[in-house]
Symmetry: C2
Subunit: 163 residues, 2 copies
Amino acid sequence: MTAPADVLAAAAARGWTLGVAESLTGGMVSAALVDVPGASAVLRGAVVAYATDLKASLLDVDAGLLAARGAVDPDVALAMADGVRRAVRSDVGLATTGVAGPDPQDGHPPGLVYVAVATPEGRHVRRIDVDGDRPAVRARALAGVLDLALEACGGTPQWRAAH
Amino acid sequence: MTAPADVLAAAAARGWTLGVAESLTGGMVSAALVDVPGASAVLRGAVVAYATDLKASLLDVDAGLLAARGAVDPDVALAMADGVRRAVRSDVGLATTGVAGPDPQDGHPPGLVYVAVATPEGRHVRRIDVDGDRPAVRARALAGVLDLALEACGGTPQWRAAH
């Protein structure tokens, strides 16, 4: 798994600050970043929009989109990443949404997760399908959004070579 | 330590929903509550206002108070608890602010923590002094705000007897 410290270092190298919008991870992503000494120079804050209506009111996700697709959707994930950039005034927004289980949500099976990252240079979203229980689904969502953030901040040789 | 499940159960027994405003805990409190199956019926969301200016913009903490006292202050903790009730439209607000260390902040030593809880019935704040490293300070802040929330939701016999 990408280390939270590597994400902070990659963002700092670009002169970028971070914000986090969390649904199923519920604060885990932000807490993992805050654990790193010096995080306060890069991480501005986070919004845990656990209730669906907060995705609209706090993160400015289009209410029509939420009504049409539900909260577990790639465009909702992207809108959450955009929204937290505005809400916490950060350069980069990380977002997680998905079904932790054990019950389905909005017609989606447990284990379906979307992670998204928005930077000044682009917007990225990735689908992750997890076969596991609630803690496993959340852990994979955390790892997935850190991986994507590191790539989007240019922190991996693979990413740099491809762009 | 008070179990997150007990806080959720005590709030649910009152018909109250929860919101969390976090500074030094950075999402840990929210994540601990989300870990409990069924949390979505009680927990609405959280705001991690790690950067001080976000305490004003996202939680409506008075900017003059923040300028005069800094972020590590009992009245700031209470204002964060009030503010998150409004931000996430919850009945109860939990808040943490403090100095995780290793460096002092705003003239306060590492280990100074304030936790606050606002409910429809009252506002409560508690000072905690922790002798320990960053993880220890955060862990005590988490435990302290859960303890105070359980008491404020009437979840302990001691609290019920005293009120």
